[in-house]
């Protein structure tokens, strides 16, 4: 148990430290998100958004920005032989998935810490929606991180890595996006945050996180075998 925890901490620290030194994924994700907001401002020809339109713009942008991070998540493991090292190490292999999912979750939270205030600045009149939105963001990030890490670990060993991640991940996160936009829509309403069916959607998000957490735990061993 402690050995697993040590391995988890070591892999996670390694990932976060590399990211902090290179800022390869995070800078791309943040720039992508902000540029996409600007494109939405002109393509929708709106200077302020509310309700379902605001939720849609926010979640579509965050999802596509997240895909950039998912694409790169396991690249170092494959190129520098990290997979072999994990296979050789006397640890539970699921630790790698857990560490990668947490790392991706941290990237997503940092991305949102940048992108959501910018979104509020660009399109929302007030910041009143942000505290309840935080809850939705955290639950959706967890689901996105779990599915993203799972798909990324599969796609990285294929020929068409950059193509496969969006192809497989997008339909897989449709229920997550339905729940996230459903919960965000009343919160982002123009007249201040409302909580219509907020709890139901949070429950769906939680259920999604639980199901994909269990699936990842059950199948990840088979992805590392060689």
């Amino acid at each position: 148990m402690t050995r697993s925890r040590d391995a988890f901490a070591a892999i996670l620290a390694k990932d976060l430290r590399t990211e902090l030194r290179t800022l390869r994924s995070l800078s791309a994700m943040a720039l992508f998100a902000i540029t996409t907001f600007v494109i939405f401002r002109f393509s929708l020809d709106r200077t302020s958004l509310s309700g379902s339109l605001a939720a849609g713009v926010l979640w579509a942008t965050l999802l596509f920005a997240a895909i950039l991070g998912v694409n790169r998540l396991f690249v170092a493991e494959r190129d520098e032989g990290g997979f072999d090292a994990i296979r050789l190490a006397p640890i539970d292999r699921t630790v790698l998935l857990a560490a990668k999912a947490v790392a991706l979750g941290v990237y997503l939270l940092v991305l949102e810490a940048i992108a959501v205030p910018v979104f509020a600045l660009f399109f929302l009149g007030s910041a009143a929606a942000l505290p309840p939105l935080l809850l939705v963001l955290v639950l959706a990030d967890l689901g996105l991180a779990l599915t993203g890490a799972l798909i990324s670990s599969m796609a990285v060993n294929s020929r068409a890595r950059d193509l496969l991640v969006p192809l497989v991940l997008l339909p897989l996160v449709v229920p997550l996006m339905i729940a996230a936009t459903g919960a965000s829509e009343p919160v982002l309403e123009a007249g201040g945050p409302a909580f219509d069916r907020f709890g139901t959607w949070l429950a769906v998000l939680g259920l999604y996180d639980l199901v994909f957490g269990l699936i990842g735990y059950a199948v990840f061993d088979f992805l590392l075998e060689d």
Binding site: L150, M154, A155, N157, S158, R159, A160, L163, L164, L167, V168, P171, L172, V174, P175, L176, I178, A179, G182, T200, W201, V204, L207, Y208, V211, F212, I215, A218, V219, F222, L223, E225, D226
Partner: protein, 243 residues
Amino acid sequence: MYGTGLKRLSIATVAVIATAMALIFFYAPMDADQGFIQKIFYLHVPLAITALVGFVVGGVYAVLHLRSGDRRYDARSYVAIHLSIIFGVAVLITGSIWAKASWGHWWVWDEPTLVSFLIVFLLYATYYPFRYAIEDPERQARYASVFAITAGAFVPLNFLAVRLAQSLVHPRVFATTGGGLPASMMLTFLVSLAGIALLWVTLVRFELTAKSASGQVRRLRRALDAPRAETSSGRPRVAPELS
């Protein structure tokens, strides 16, 4: 070994489907509300049920494959998903025709079942590019099984989320309590469900037979011209091989 009994199975399938067609057109009463177009229900709903069950069967075979390491289960999982995707195309087309006839639009976004099915279909459609992007056959089989299991668990979640998101206009034929469906309609429906399910099983058996035969031919040919086989490294990408 896959070919045994295939003839009898095919005859049974044709007989049940013919009976179902006869029942649909001559026995089942005309729907008072929708008229003749309602008869597409006897095709659309069994196709949808068979396709969804087929996806689950593919997932179960995938679990068996991962547990036992037997590649034959992977081939079964592949064929089950493959045919369910083909049935899925038919579900979307018949559903669209029904929607046009009874609601006046080819596509209705407010209808949870159709939308859920489309999302499930889109996810399973990525099974092919995903599978064939992986070169090593051993790994390909393992990853495809993981995909089949993940997607199998995704199906109920997706139906839940889509249903919550939308108003309820899809005809819930069986949910209406107190016998929403008259006995004659129910009988016709069950016969045609049996027919479509048999059709699925027969087609799965045919494809497995064809695959195992072509695998044998390939092995024999390789044994015949063994010196040449060393130079030609082109591995067929069409489907998992059966031993």
